[in-house]
């Protein structure tokens, strides 16, 4: 029994030697066949890496909103058939934000928000920019530090002081420098003192410049820029941990329904979204993109596999006499089958390994050239390797079986 096992192992070792010799005899053909798999596997790795990178980038941007954020938007309204969109109805009051601060225990920070655009000016320069009215908690909530100066305080909010902080883009557009703390900025001709300059955040995922901004106390914005009014566009709230997001969301909804006197069965006149929900919606897009790209890449892998089958079939026909000779000197059908399977698998596995390496390199190069990020997951590498080996077995089996079933007499006489 053991000697038989030994003999079998010996025979398998010989078959590996035979297959390696056969591949070496046709170097160019072997290389071209493997190329199909190299491109397929490389494309899968590159596409998935870039897709994962894009997903990670989107997630990072959403994380840039701050951690564990709940956004509460004012409802939409319909006036003469024109719907205003979220925030347009003015259903959120300053008192609502106060109530959330007071009555929802999980909430740690709250920022009342109003948004406007306005022409701002200093000296003989002017610029059109976005005006955000926020509470003093906003900078902690968004984890947005100042590069220079200091943020406005609760006292500034309470008194609706004419103070603000500016983004880097706004500062450089008007003053030509970032050294603007203490300068006076006129917003709709109301002079505001600049207390600080925000650290740059760059472009958002939608492509807007996040540093083109003026942030002031929401009270000041309502009074001096929006010209009165008591409604908020939205309220930003932060909870201590991600576990608190769902319960806090429920409590905020219950609280606001009660405050707005909404009866059972009627729709909310506001919307409460957690950061997780926003992230899920945003990453869903990149995931679809990744799946699509990976699908295209998998097709090219299958085409590579068919290439292997094609070459193996040609090879079996071309080497019919060789197969006959091998059988004449004692090869079993199984030896021939194993030899051709090993040849096919060697092509696909070697192609797979080179493909993985070139896929990683390609994704890095593309990421560098396009300024995208790429994220190579070990899972996709293992998967690509297993799939390429599987492709070799699957597409190599039919030609190998065809070779193994040849009749030695016919094969020897084949011209």
């Amino acid at each position: 029994m053991t000697s038989k096992n030994f003999a079998r192992r010996l025979r398998l070792a010989s078959t590996f030697k035979i297959a390696a010799r056969a591949l070496r005899r046709n170097k160019l053909r072997s290389a071209l066949t493997a190329l199909g798999i190299i491109i397929g596997v490389g494309a899968v790795i590159a596409m998935v890496s870039i897709g994962n990178g894009a997903k990670a980038q989107v997630e990072a941007q959403i994380a840039g909103l701050g951690e564990n954020i709940i956004l509460i938007f004012s409802g939409s309204t319909t006036a003469s058939g024109i719907r205003t969109g979220w925030g347009g109805a003015g259903t959120l009051k300053i008192e609502d934000a106060e109530a959330i601060r007071r009555e929802v225990p999980q909430v740690t920070l709250v920022s009342e928000e109003v948004v406007s655009t306005a022409q701002v000016a200093a000296g003989n320069q002017n610029w059109f920019t976005r005006i955000y009215g926020e509470s003093a908690e906003y900078f902690d909530l968004r984890q947005w530090a100042l590069a220079d100066g200091a943020p406005f305080t609760q006292q500034d909010v309470r008194s609706a002081n004419k103070v603000c902080v500016v983004g880097r883009t706004t500062a450089t557009q008007i003053y030509g420098s970032e050294d603007v703390v203490g300068q006076v900025l006129r917003v709709k001709n109301v002079p505001f003192q600049i207390l600080g300059v925000l650290t740059p955040k760059g472009l958002s995922s939608q492509g807007t410049d996040q540093d083109d901004i003026v942030i002031m106390p929401y009270t000041s914005a309502m009074k001096r820029v929006l010209g009165g009014g008591t409604t908020l566009r939205n309220i930003n709230a932060q909870v201590a941990s991600s576990r608190d997001l769902a319960p806090a969301q429920q409590q905020i909804i219950a609280l606001l329904r009660q405050r707005h006197n909404i009866r059972e069965g009627r729709d909310d006149d506001f919307t409460v979204r957690t950061q997780e929900e926003i992230a899920a919606a945003a990453t869903a897009t990149t995931e679809t993109m990744t799946a699509l790209l990976a699908g295209v890449a998998v097709i090219s892998l299958v085409v590579g596999g068919i290439g292997i089958m094609n070459i193996m079939l040609v090879s079996v026909t071309e080497r019919t006499r060789e197969i006959g000779t091998r059988m004449a000197v004692g090869a079993h059908g199984r030896d021939i089958l194993t030899q051709f399977l090993i040849e096919a698998m060697t092509l696909s596995v070697v192609g797979g390994i080179i493909g993985i390496i070139s896929g990683i390199v390609a994704s890095k190069v593309i990421a560098m050239l396009k300024n995208w990020s790429s994220l190579i997951s070990p899972g996709s590498i293992i998967l690509a390797f297993v799939v390429s080996a599987g492709v070799g077995i699957f597409f190599g089996f039919y030609p190998a079986r065809k070779a193994a079933q040849l009749d030695p007499i016919d094969a020897l006489r084949y011209e």
Partner: protein, 256 residues
């Protein structure tokens, strides 16, 4: 069972019938032949005489429809495909008309081929040593690294003979071994066969050339699937003497 210990090949009323559609073709119609160890037999006959079919049966590439075939005392008439492959590997060596060497493969690797399919445990170094010694025995010392395309027809056939000898076979089977060779090279190959035979190797050779057959000791002539004539060769040619005669008759070659 082993009732003819000195017979390398014993055929007992061997028949082979092919079914082609409705028509039954009787390629071999009852052949009983005994070839003893150490014989050198030429199997002759025109095409369609059944000599190729008989050769395939002797070579264990095909099984008889009826009758029994003992190779080295072992009944191989009803072995399976794989068992026949093992018998070929252990007991037979093949030389073909068109050499059937693996292209772009060195002579050494070609010669090693049968041992790669044998159950004998050998290291790569042992394989190489054995292949080199067999190559030297057919006069190709130092040509082991040449590929078939770098060798002449005669040299290629020597590589094929070396391949047939590497597993120390009971019987060397040659199917038209000189069919693709010029007359001088043919005589050289016959010289190798005669010297191998002198060392005791049994050789069975299919040929349709009467002069090539005269290098053998015994001629079996087939016709219509039966043995028509089975006789010892009377005026046996000696390859060494023939080569000298050819060289003498050709002043150019004599000068070389």
């Amino acid at each position: 069972m082993n009732n003819s210990s000195d017979a390398a090949v014993r055929l007992d009323d061997v028949r082979k019938t092919y079914q082609t559609g409705e028509v039954e073709v009787q390629a071999v119609r009852g052949v009983s032949v005994e070839i003893k160890q150490g014989e050198f037999v030429a199997l002759m006959g025109s095409s369609g005489s059944g000599k190729s079919t008989l050769m395939n049966i002797i070579g264990c590439l095909d099984r008889p429809t009826a009758g029994r075939y003992f190779l080295d005392g072992e009944d191989v008439s009803s072995l399976s495909r794989d068992e026949l492959a093992d018998v070929r590997n252990r007991k037979l060596g093949f030389v073909f008309q068109n050499f059937n060497l693996l292209a772009r493969t060195s002579a050494l690797e070609n010669v090693e081929l049968p041992l790669l399919y044998s159950d004998v445990a050998m290291t790569s170094a042992q394989l190489r040593e054995k292949a080199e010694s067999v190559l030297a025995a057919v006069g190709l010392e130092g040509r082991g690294d040449h590929t078939p395309s770098q060798l002449s027809g005669g040299q290629q056939q020597r590589v094929a003979i070396a391949r047939a000898l590497i597993n120390d076979p009971e019987v060397l089977l040659a199917d038209e071994p000189t069919g693709n060779l010029d007359s001088r090279t043919s005589v050289e190959v016959m010289g190798i066969f005669q010297s191998l035979n002198a060392k005791g190797i049994t050789i069975i050779m299919v040929t349709h050339e009467a002069d090539i057959a005269s290098y053998a000791r015994r001629n079996i002539v087939m016709k219509d699937g039966l043995v028509r004539n089975d006789m010892m060769v009377q005026n046996r040619l000696n390859a060494v003497a023939e080569l000298e005669r050819i060289s003498a008759g050709d002043p150019l070659e004599a000068a070389v």
